[in-house]
């Protein structure tokens, strides 16, 4: 096993099993780090907790719901608005956050009474919202409040409301991934099958593991609707509570982020016989393959091929403009769980970037299997890195950019490495054909930002050039570019709008596409 020992972690010997170098000839049977284990004491992890994983990642993107945490306000505040999972109902789920406001006295005397009071108050404050998710926190779990009983009590008093209880306190699992698991299983156990699905098409899918970060789901919905496919529910970005109770009515589960949502797909297969199709919504080729597979499933392949043709013609020249300028740039692919494998191969192939490292904070060994299988030789794979390890890796690997979340991202900035937020996104959406070009644009803008040239100069010791003017990105990126490519009229930088979503949301879709042609079984 080609284990990688960080110099900064020699005092934590257990860490050695959490990083491997993918060397020549290595495969998954010889190079796979440990994963999804409790963080080793002394290692300052960048992980989130299981409450955060349940509420912030999966529960809260549901749009027509009061999301209430039974715990101190800090728990709900810290899981509020840090991820831009927008919705088409004026972002109700992002605008407000709710807590039962537990304090020390409730730890002693119990907090069920204040919980019930605050649940009713929240429903009365937002009378149009009739659905609630209720999240346990460490504090309410440790004192043993019976949230299910309180929820039932409120539902008895207010018959028009429905409440989902998620018992996933922060300590329930090594990381946020424990919360993903708990809420998946709780949702299928308690809610799926409790509402009859409203079927409007002969082709019905659940789109699972998609959180509508800056509109990813909007773009993907557009492709599905153009094929006549009904997205019965999206788990959970821009998803509706009652649609998600009707997940059992789909023909196919189309799974995007298997890390956070494969559990519910597995259970839907076992309990309702709905198969699971894993797809990639990122990158032209993987997305094209994915659309084709979904369409093939329903016997409407030509519709997918038409979309692929149109979208590729529209956006490929723009992707290639960036590819020419990003060729050979080194990238640390350090997202949360699934993007490390969604992107490991295609970002190299379609943007020309060399992936020098993949890491995951909360991924399991399964995610590393996919990531290591897809990335090129020479990459350093790290599980649950601590801050010192990420700094050591950046100093050693000298990446031109890291793509990650805001916590490690800010650390990167301090050592002058450009960083792009791929959790909440900088200027998403990043899914779909246009989204992939927007990601390439953001990576280009980060790498060639003139500020990084200035930031590398230390005014206390470096000589500051006074004979050079300010350089633009284009001057920097095209300096060593072949003239033929630099002036090519076939290629162009991104020409989409600053906010590309309204155009997608204004599309109309012919009704007849939703019905199978006569004679087609």
């Amino acid at each position: 096993m080609p284990l990688h020992e960080f110099e900064c972690s020699t005092c934590i010997p257990e860490r050695k099993k959490h990083a491997v170098d993918k060397g020549p000839g290595e495969d998954l049977t010889s190079a796979l780090p440990e994963g999804y284990l409790n963080t080793i004491p002394g290692s300052i992890s960048e992980r989130g907790c299981a409450y955060c994983g349940a509420k912030h990642v999966i529960g809260t993107p549901m749009k027509d719901v009061i999301h209430l945490s039974h715990g101190p306000v800090g728990c709900t505040y810290d899981t509020w608005q840090t991820k831009r999972y927008i919705s088409d109902n004026d972002n109700f789920q992002l605008k407000y956050t709710y807590a039962s406001d537990m304090k020390e006295k409730h730890i002693v005397f119990g907090a069920e009474k204040i919980l019930k009071q605050n649940m009713i108050e929240a429903f009365k404050a937002f009378p149009k919202i009739k659905r609630m998710t209720l999240y346990q926190t460490c504090a309410s779990a440790l004192i043993g409040d019976d949230m299910n009983a309180v929820a039932q009590d409120v539902m008895d008093e207010m018959p028009d409301v429905d409440i989902f209880v998620c018992n996933s306190p922060g300590f329930k699992g090594p990381s946020q991934s424990g919360g993903h698991h708990t809420i998946n299983i709780a949702w299928i156990k308690d809610k799926v099958g409790t509402v009859e699905p409203k079927i409007t098409s002969d082709y019905v899918i659940n789109y699972v593991g998609e959180y509508n970060i800056q509109g990813d789901e909007v773009i993907m919905q557009d492709y599905f609707k153009r094929m006549g496919i009904q997205v019965l529910s999206t788990f959970t970005g821009n998803g509706s509570y009652d649609d998600l109770r009707a997940m059992h009515g789909a023909h196919l589960n189309v799974l995007e982020c298997a890390r956070s949502a494969e559990y519910i797909c597995n259970e839907l297969r076992v309990r309702y016989g709905i198969p699971r199709l894993d797809i990639d919504g990122f990158g032209f080729e993987p997305l094209s393959d994915s659309l084709r597979k979904v369409a093939l499933f329903f016997g409407i392949e030509e519709r997918a091929l038409q979309i692929i043709k149109e979208e590729t013609a529209r956006w490929k020249p723009e992707l290639d403009w960036y590819k020419e300028r990003l060729q050979g740039k080194k990238i640390c692919l350090w997202p949360g769980g699934s993007k490390l494998w969604h992107w490991a191969h295609v970002i190299h192939k379609e943007m020309g970037l060399d992936v020098v490292s993949v890491y995951t904070k909360f991924g399991h060994q399964q995610d590393m299997e996919k990531g290591i299988a897809r990335c090129e030789e020479g990459a350093l794979a790290i599980d649950d890195p601590n801050e010192l390890e990420t700094i050591e890796a950046m100093l050693k690997l000298q990446p031109d950019i890291i793509v990650t979340g805001k916590r490690p991202g800010e650390v990167a900035k301090k050592i002058r490495v450009p960083y792009l937020n791929v959790h909440a996104y900088h200027n998403g959406p990043y899914k779909g054909y246009e989204g992939w070009v927007r990601l390439a644009r953001d990576i280009y803008n980060a790498i060639y930002s003139p500020i990084h040239r200035l930031a590398l100069l230390d005014i206390s010791k470096d000589e500051i050039p006074t004979d050079k003017g300010f350089a633009t990105r284009r001057m920097l990126s095209d300096a060593n570019l072949n003239e033929e490519i630099a002036s090519s009229s076939d290629l162009r930088p991104y020409t989409g709008k600053y906010d590309c979503l309204p155009d997608y949301m204004n599309h109309t879709y012919p009704d007849e596409l939703r019905k199978k042609p006569a004679g087609d079984n």
């Binding site: 049977t29 796979l32 393959d289 093939l296």
Partner: protein
């Protein structure tokens, strides 16, 4: 033979996700389902896709067979017996990488 299997293996590992389901029983079912149908398609034999489950394997198999044929010209020159033998060796290899030789400790969990 070994080089050819390596080419097919590399394509699967870089482009596909069906081989990385959660548990041993899932991976056995997936590898069997997708690669059996891929073999049938490559050999010009009918591949069942009437049930939802079969259809799901079949769509992955159709795309895989197309990719194999377009990227590995030598496949088009092989006869059925050779293709079946090659694909059996490929399945053995994928089973080894994802199941029998896998270092993933969660594969044997009894629950999802």
């Amino acid at each position: 033979m070994k080089d050819r299997i390596a080419q097919l293996e590399t394509y699967i590992m870089k482009h596909c996700l069906w081989q990385f389901h959660s548990r041993v029983w899932d991976r056995k079912r997936q590898n069997e389902g997708v690669l059996t149908k891929t073999t049938q398609i490559l050999c010009g034999e009918p591949a069942a896709h009437e049930t939802l489950e079969d259809r799901c394997y079949w769509v992955d198999a159709v795309c895989l067979a197309d990719a194999f044929k377009s990227r590995c010209q030598w496949l088009n020159e092989m006869d059925k017996t050779e293709i079946k033998s090659l694909m059996q060796e490929l399945k053995n290899r994928i089973d080894y990488l994802t199941i029998d030789g896998s270092l993933n400790k969660e594969l044997t969990d009894v629950n999802y």
